[in-house]
Symmetry: C2
Subunit: 323 residues, 2 copies
Amino acid sequence: MINIAILGFGIVGSGSYDLTVQNAGLIEKKVGDSVKVKKIVDILDFSKHPAWSLFTKNFDDVMNDPSISIVIETIGGTRFAYDFTKRALAGGKNVVTSNKELVSTHGLELAEIAKKNNAVYLFEASVGGGVPIIRPLKQCLAANEIEEIFGIVNGTTNYILTKMRDEGISFEDALKEAQAKGYAEKNPTDDIEGHDPIRKMNILAWTAFGKMADPEDTNAKGISGVTAEDIKKAKADGCAIKLIGRAKMADGKVKCSVAPERVPLNNPLATVDGVYNAIVVRGNFVGDVTFHGQGAGGRATASAIIGDVIEIARDIVASRKRA
Amino acid sequence: MINIAILGFGIVGSGSYDLTVQNAGLIEKKVGDSVKVKKIVDILDFSKHPAWSLFTKNFDDVMNDPSISIVIETIGGTRFAYDFTKRALAGGKNVVTSNKELVSTHGLELAEIAKKNNAVYLFEASVGGGVPIIRPLKQCLAANEIEEIFGIVNGTTNYILTKMRDEGISFEDALKEAQAKGYAEKNPTDDIEGHDPIRKMNILAWTAFGKMADPEDTNAKGISGVTAEDIKKAKADGCAIKLIGRAKMADGKVKCSVAPERVPLNNPLATVDGVYNAIVVRGNFVGDVTFHGQGAGGRATASAIIGDVIEIARDIVASRKRA
């Protein structure tokens, strides 16, 4: 049996738990051993959850259990997540995360700590939700000089822009609707000012080019300045307005940007609507390859997280056989 | 140094060679060792090729060279390709291929031979050209129960259908144009009657479900019966006609089919034009994920082939370190 722990039981953490339960047979078949959630760490009260016996408020319970080899971190932010991830990796536990803020801020350091301790730090779920993009960049497209990566990597702003276009409403009204539906947070700054998508572009840049952009080569502009009038005019010109992230190498430097752009309607990115994400990778041999799917949500993001867990679990099974 | 051989120096074989030369530095950095083409096997005369010293007409020259650990097979068909692949794998050499006919016909047997001899048989390039699909199915999306895989997996027929729609011409005229441009073969039966796409759907089914469809659960219908009138009528109803491949489990059995379908214009598959491919994977947690890009061509397909080579080469370097 391969034991895992989940840190943070919000939408992604609970989605990941549900997946391990619902698809347990399939996962066991693919790994060659069963994968079980042994501990869930969250400070809230889950005494009414059917799996309440797994819950603890104390991260030490994970660190003190040598049978736990994989830790899923879905706490978000950089405070507890950073500390817990460092301790887990330093203790030789593998960590899988959807936390783009942590990966874009401390990813290089955490990957180093992982390497030193014979552990891995995987973050497929940190960009594009359920859409495979990190592993395809590292493996399937590894033979290419990557010329540029660009696309729609923030579902909240894409939902707002789609609403504004379809209903002709103002940014403020569309934001309110997104908040009411749970697609935007109460404090929406991270999404609407471009902080969230620029983090994701930096993670893609790190994956493709081996380093993130320096602050002076980073430019994030959000959508709070986009008006109903802008969208109407763009439509009249046969364009949609989309918040497009870009990452590329120029003059030996990594450059990352996020900004609203006019996208002609015959461009596939123009028809990526609602909370969907689409990422285009331009390689010198493969040309343009596009990855499209649900960029957020507990179930879709759990797909990426447990995909990473399965990869690690397979390696654990393979190394047992070699031993 | 990691030595490789290329069998068959057609459009994909030569594209793969070009890639190893043009992106040599990048590949060395990613693998941790240089990857060099040491032999190229082809019965034609390449005495004017700059790398003529690498060419041989005799496959034994590859088998007798223990320094060659990876063989790229781009011969196509099942005659020589089958024999050479079996011998290479039985000799413990890893094989990478774009040969969908061979993989769909003898893939299970070849994968078994590989396993017994501690080698691997990889075929990312056999479906979707440069589009990553096999590895994402095996890894990134491994946590999902796959409900269905469907999409456009044959560039030749998609080019013909696109021409018929855009120019209002007959199937016969569009086929002639595709042949003149090198997008269709002189004997186009494999593509236009659906044999090529049904092979690809079987390879996807094998990857997702662990087995291919039995002949009685396989249904391939091509586009030779599609008329200019059909396309005009579909257009009037807001639809495009696309040759859609499908693979799914039903009643415990794998079912694969290929047939022309009416696709509403607001469906992303309707706007996949020319020689592009697009494959949708529907998972029980991730929902729909779409992979889109160039489904054929020497450079795009070489991207997938050398991606597989890099994966094997990395494993060789890792196992050296463990030894």
